[in-house]
């Protein structure tokens, strides 16, 4: 073998070993999330920014469906030892995992992170159970009221039409349905579960008391809120029943300009803006008896099963995702609430606030935004609520009786689960 060939071979072997060494040094963090379409694109930007700043960490992001899908897949993945390292968890449903010691207690990380002081109070609060921090907020939201200005104008309603009380909204929705129903346009989209929760709070009540955990489904104001929501579908017929059996249908119809009003998460802002352009207008949720909105969205948790170095790498990512730069990119790209106090001052957020009217409505709702209960029974309650809502909205069950029965069932389930 010639000396030249020997040198070439030796150099190749060294290069190979070096590259393997580099690959081994990189830490992979498997990350499950629930963002596709425009929100998925915004998340990709955040991940790209993190990987550029942290070349030793590779985020393997995977879209695994909506919040319900994530919960289901995570529960199946844990006993199969196929759980991810980091995961997006909806703010009312991570308690199930935290209470079973499956989520890493992030308190030591969080306490040592300067980020903690930069987060809004509401954002810091959503990740805490019994004084321990289990998730760091990423995509926080409140419901807002969207409407289509063009549909309003065609129905003879001005863009300043009051939409503050249940009565105001019913009146506007009726006008739209009466004037434009022949064109296949309906007044309002049947509210989805997040909006239903918001409507209950706008009627000065709650589903479950966030402090005491008391079940409030049969309180008069909760029942009254459900009576109003159900009346939109079954009595006034201003909301399509298609949106009752599948709440995405209501949102899709609004985006297709077939619905005048929609109450939904602020996380739909950018998608709605793309679909409706200048026709989109955004208002705060109604204040029927009180001005109060739920904080929704999700945070990122780290699985306790991951190794320490992966947990460290995952926390770096979580911390970056909540940093002013990443959060401003996320806010501008989706419409989700800023969680970092410094985000709004950055050019990308400033530009979004200046050029995307209505994106700030959710921010303005923050003074009346409240965290929700996250006890174990909440997961059961939210799952069962869909059936109850269907029965009430489609006129198959009396609202008063159904809500009382629902409350009794929820209390019974809470008792059963605690035994």
């Amino acid at each position: 073998m010639s000396q030249k060939l020997q040198i070439t071979l030796a150099a190749s072997v060294i290069a190979l070993v070096a590259s393997v060494g580099t690959a081994e040094a990189a830490t992979d963090v498997k990350f499950w999330h629930s963002f596709n379409k425009s929100n998925g694109e915004a998340l990709d930007k955040v991940i790209a920014g993190f990987e550029a700043a942290n070349p030793g960490i590779d985020i393997e992001a995977e879209y695994v469906g909506n919040y319900n899908d994530i919960i289901a897949k995570l529960q199946a993945a844990i006993p199969a030892r196929r759980a991810p390292d980091a995961v997006i968890l909806e703010v009312t449903r991570y308690g199930l995992f935290a209470n079973n010691n499956l989520l890493t207690d992030l308190t030591p990380y969080f306490d040592a992170d300067p980020l903690k002081d930069d987060l809004y109070d509401y954002a810091r609060e959503v990740g805490v159970i019994d004084g321990k921090n289990y998730v760091v907020p990423f995509n926080s939201s409140t419901p807002v009221l969207y409407f289509n200005k063009d549909i309003f104008a065609r129905a003879g309603l001005s863009a300043d039409t009051p939409l503050k009380t249940f009565k105001d909204i019913t009146a506007a929705a009726k006008t739209i349905s009466e004037k434009l129903g022949s064109e296949g346009i309906s007044g309002i989209a049947a509210p989805g579960q997040f909006a239903r929760w918001g409507i209950v709070m706008a009627n000065d009540s709650e589903m479950v008391d966030p402090k005491s955990g008391e079940i409030l489904l049969d309180k008069p104001n909760t029942i009254e809120a459900y009576q109003w929501m159900a009346s939109l579908v079954k009595d006034d017929k201003v909301a399509s029943p298609d949106g009752v059996t599948d709440e995405d249908n209501g949102r899709d119809a609004f985006l297709a300009k077939k619905v005048g009003i929609m109450m939904n998460s602020t996380g739909n802002y950018v998608g709605a803006k793309k679909a409706l352009g200048d026709e989109l207008a955004v208002r705060a949720m109604p204040c029927n008896k009180a001005c109060s909105v739920p904080i929704g969205g999700a945070g990122i948790g780290i699985m306790a099963t991951s190794t320490k170095d992966v947990q460290d790498a995952a926390y770096k990512f979580i911390s970056y995702a909540a940093s002013p730069e990443a959060n401003a990119t996320w806010f501008a790209g989706t419409g989700y609430l800023p969680i970092n106090k410094k985000s709004a001052a950055l050019p990308v957020a400033k530009e979004a606030l200046a050029t995307q009217p209505g994106i700030d409505v959710a921010i303005e709702s923050l003074p009346v935004a409240h965290g929700r209960a996250r006890t174990t029974v909440v997961t059961w309650m939210r799952t069962t609520e869909y059936k109850m809502w269907e029965a009430m909205a489609l006129g198959q069950a009396n609202v008063d009786e159904t809500m009382k029965d629902f409350a009794a069932q929820t209390r019974s389930e809470e008792k059963r689960a605690s035994n």
Binding site: Q75, P79, D242, T245, D246, T379, K387
Partner: protein, 291 residues
């Protein structure tokens, strides 16, 4: 040598037996074991709770509602499927080019993804944006809440399930009809037998083994229907289409009560075995395998 010869047949069937044991019998036994325990996938221990899961299921309104809905679905869909399939098969039993094309067309839904079919029919039957209501609208008829009306929703599922499954039934019936000796029809023709009479006296009894086979299969399928329910109605509206397997999925994989989910699976298994024995006692005796 003799020992090896004795072992040979067992060795031949061993791979299949191992496969079936791994993917059928062991899961059944595991499910039986889980039905007496409490587990949510997350806790490391699975405490033994005796018959508590069964007691809770039998006391649950949802379970009795699901049993009723599933029975209704079976009673509506199975006779419809088999009756229509036999009629169509009697027409398609001839061997011509257009008949072969029709057979292929009718069989297509059987090999099409159930998920795709369910998604498409969800839109077809949508109240405000669906094709069916658009067609009704052109005749001046009002919108029908196909998937929101509890009485209609079940019929829609029966229709979609029949549309999906009927191709398979037709093909099996055609095979059964083709096995009937031609001479019997010739003899009936000589005797002046009318078409309906011949169908009732010759075709029906001789195709009985096929009917019995399809009955057993379609009842099991009807009791296990899941995909179209989960995608088109998710058991709604208000539980009107909440079939047993959909409820099982909900208990096991939405509420993560694996113990109760497994107990329901065991109850479903017992129910299906019971039904199979009942069918065998009542109908099996009337089945003639010889002309």
């Amino acid at each position: 040598m003799t020992m090896l010869r004795k072992l040979t047949p067992y060795l031949f069937v061993a791979p299949l037996m191992i496969f079936i044991a791994l993917f059928t019998y062991i899961p059944i036994l595991a499910s039986l074991n889980l039905s007496f325990r409490e587990w949510n996938f997350l806790t490391p221990d699975m405490p033994f709770v005796g018959f508590r899961n069964y007691e809770q299921l039998l006391a649950s309104r949802d379970v009795w509602n699901s049993l009723w809905v599933t029975t209704l679905f079976t009673v509506l869909s199975v006779p419809l499927r088999l009756g229509l399939a036999l009629m169509i098969a009697a027409y398609l039993v001839r061997e011509t080019m257009h008949v072969r094309l029709l057979r292929g067309a009718l069989f297509l839904p059987s090999v099409t993804s159930t998920v795709s079919i369910a998604v498409v029919f969800s839109w077809v039957f949508s109240t405000d944006y669906g094709m069916v209501n658009a067609i009704l609208g052109t005749f001046g008829l009002g919108k029908v809440q196909w998937l929101q009306n509890p009485h209609l929703a079940l019929w829609v599922l029966v229709f979609v399930n029949t549309w999906k499954q009927i191709g398979y039934d037709i093909i099996i019936y055609i095979a059964g009809l083709q096995a009937i000796p031609r001479e019997l029809y010739d003899a009936a023709a000589v005797d002046g037998g009318k078409r309906l009479h011949v169908f009732r006296r010759i075709t029906m009894p001789l195709v009985m083994p096929t009917t019995y086979f399809l009955l057993v299969i379609s009842v099991i399928e009807a009791f296990q229907v899941f995909t179209i329910v989960n995608i088109m109605t998710r058991g709604g509206p208000a539980g009107a289409t909440d079939m047993l397997v959909n409820l099982l999925y909900e208990i096991g994989f939405v509420l993560f009560d694996i113990g109760r989910g497994s107990a329901l699976a065991v109850l479903l298994f017992i129910l299906l075995v019971g039904l199979a024995i009942l069918k065998s006692r009542i109908i099996g005796r009337k089945v003639h395998y010889e002309a």
